[in-house]
């Protein structure tokens, strides 16, 4: 009961704090929505065929923006430095903080994704997913995967600056090698192979429709990342 109450209080505080930080509001809401509106106009303008893929690609982009750009900086504060030490010394469970960072990011990502899902049709004539259930499952898997990557960037960074830098290092290649911005078949052959190690590539595929390989690879990434994060958590919280 105490654990649940503490988790709820942590989550409430973590979620509310996002809206007091201009950078986080921009990263979680303004930029994903703005880019979605801008790129949708461009993509549909280039080819009306893009109406079929616009929801999948823009949703993947929004999730990546939320998780890779917005999340790591706020997580890294608890993984190194004075806040981490104050929390440990004060008896605050850091695992609850990291879980709440993830859940909070999940909510932000879900909100922007749903905005895209329900406005892309009326605004740009985008094709609505043929199976909404599959889309929602794919969305769930994609957000969880991206969130784990965002938490990992934050937890493995030695400082907030390193986290910001790493965010960019992960975000930009993900954007261009996932198929969210550029069709994969226009890439050079060797880059097409490289795209298989980009988790966002599999999210774009999943959000576009049922794909067993993308599903299994995504689940594999989730398992590996979870194990890595548990190990990292042990290292973060052990005595220095």
């Amino acid at each position: 009961m105490k654990t649940l109450k503490a988790l709820f209080v942590n989550l409430k505080i973590y979620y509310l704090m996002t809206f007091r930080n201009v950078f986080l509001v921009i990263a979680h809401y303004l930029l994903p929505i703005l880019f979605y509106l801008l790129f949708s106009v461009v993509f549909v303008g280039i080819s009306p065929d893009n109406k079929i893929t616009i929801i999948a690609s823009m949703t993947a982009f929004a999730i990546a923006m939320n998780s890779y750009i917005g999340l790591p900086g706020s997580v890294s504060r608890y993984a190194v430095g004075d806040i981490k030490r104050a929390y440990i010394a004060g008896g605050i469970s850091l695992w609850r903080v990291f879980i709440c960072a993830g859940i909070s990011n999940f909510i932000h990502s879900l909100i922007t994704s749903l905005v895209i899902l329900f406005t892309a049709g009326p605004l740009f004539g985008a094709t609505f997913p043929s199976s909404i259930l599959w889309f929602l499952l794919a969305l769930l898997i994609s957000i969880v995967l991206a969130t784990l990557i965002g938490v990992a960037i934050g937890m493995f960074s030695k400082s907030r600056n390193v986290a910001t830098l790493l965010s960019q290092v992960v975000f930009l290649p993900s954007l261009f090698l996932s198929g969210a911005m550029i069709p994969l078949d226009v890439l050079p052959k060797f880059l097409q192979y490289v795209t298989y190690i980009i988790p966002l590539r599999h999210s774009v595929t999943l959000l576009g429709g049922y794909d067993l390989v993308a599903l299994l690879v995504s689940l594999g990434f989730i398992i590996v990342l979870t194990i890595l994060l548990v190990i990292r958590y042990k290292l973060i919280t052990k005595r220095e």
Binding site: N10, I13, R20, N21, G91, K238
Partner: protein, 300 residues
């Protein structure tokens, strides 16, 4: 006789090749306020952080309330309240949220009286990042004692505070002492150590150089006569009842056990040299002065 609540035994702690604590031993009794003082780099913060369970050490053991830190860290966190030297919270967290967070983690309800005592009640809707240094210190002290811990560890609790903020913290720390809490604190402010601590451990090169109690310093048998004269005739004179211990500009400081015999001796000498007194006063020794001397390496 008071029972030992914190016992540091033969502790060795080093950072790489740099050893900070050498075979370190210290005992803190239940209900006492122990000050840990020493020059920068003496190992004060390292010692406290080992006791707080934030740092591991190479050799030795720390026993708190009969248990080692490894044995039951959760229990130790529940009986220990810690204010770190450099503590921080997220800038966007509101004071009331920080209090709620710490309270729920310790499964206690928020004590509104405590908020008022530390003058935090009026800050509850402010964000941490917008608080002044003094307000942050008061908040961190509040968070450290919110769960009514038996042991309170304060690492330079008043560093960088103005007089009013210091006064408020002194009041609260004294109140905690009176309620029987065990307090362990470090400070560079010797006035603070004198007024708050029952006992002082002076750290030198990673060891306890000296352990002193207030009573041992405030030795009532010895007092100081401070005198300045026109001709400065008291310099380099051998006295029977008084010893010249310090010269500060025109003032000479004589330590004496028998104040009337000492005064008589000084006045006789001045008369014989036809010297006149400009100023003369008697002062008591203070812990602050003695500690400051120790810090300067002039320990008694």
């Amino acid at each position: 006789m008071m029972e030992t609540i914190i016992s540091v035994n033969n502790l060795d702690k080093s950072y790489g090749k740099h050893q900070v604590l050498f075979d370190f031993n210290l005992k803190v009794k239940r209900g006492e306020c122990l000050g840990v003082v020493g020059p920068n780099g003496a190992g004060k913060t390292t010692l406290l952080e080992c006791i707080e369970g934030l740092r591991k050490w190479q050799k030795g053991e720390i026993i708190i309330d009969g248990r080692t830190i490894e044995e039951n860290p959760k229990y130790l966190r529940s009986i220990m309240g810690v204010q770190l030297q450099s503590s921080s919270l997220p800038d966007e967290i509101k004071v009331k949220e920080a209090i709620e967070l710490f309270a729920v983690e310790h499964n206690v309800s928020i004590n509104e009286k405590l908020l008022d005592e530390l003058d935090v009640g009026n800050l509850v809707n402010q964000q941490y990042g917008k608080l002044s240094t003094g307000q942050k210190r008061r908040l961190h002290l509040l968070l450290a004692i919110l769960h009514d811990p038996e042991i309170i560890i304060l690492d330079e609790p008043t560093a960088g505070l103005d007089v009013n903020a210091k006064y408020l913290l002194y009041l609260k720390i004294n109140q905690l002492k009176e309620s029987g809490k065990t307090i362990l604190l470090t400070s560079h402010d010797m006035y603070e150590v004198e007024n708050l601590c029952d006992r002082v451990a002076f750290l030198e090169n990673g060891r306890v150089g000296k352990e002193i109690t207030k009573d041992s310093i405030l030795d009532q048998d010895k007092q100081i006569i401070v005198v300045s004269t026109k001709k400065q005739s008291l310099k380099n004179v051998d006295m029977m009842y008084s010893t010249l211990i310090e010269e500060k500009e025109a003032e000479l400081f004589f330590e004496c056990s028998n104040i009337s015999a000492c005064l008589k001796e000084l006045l006789e000498h001045l008369n014989s040299k036809d010297d006149e007194i400009i100023d003369l006063y008697i002062k008591k020794k203070t812990v602050e002065e003695e500690l400051t001397k120790m810090m300067r390496g002039e320990g008694k």
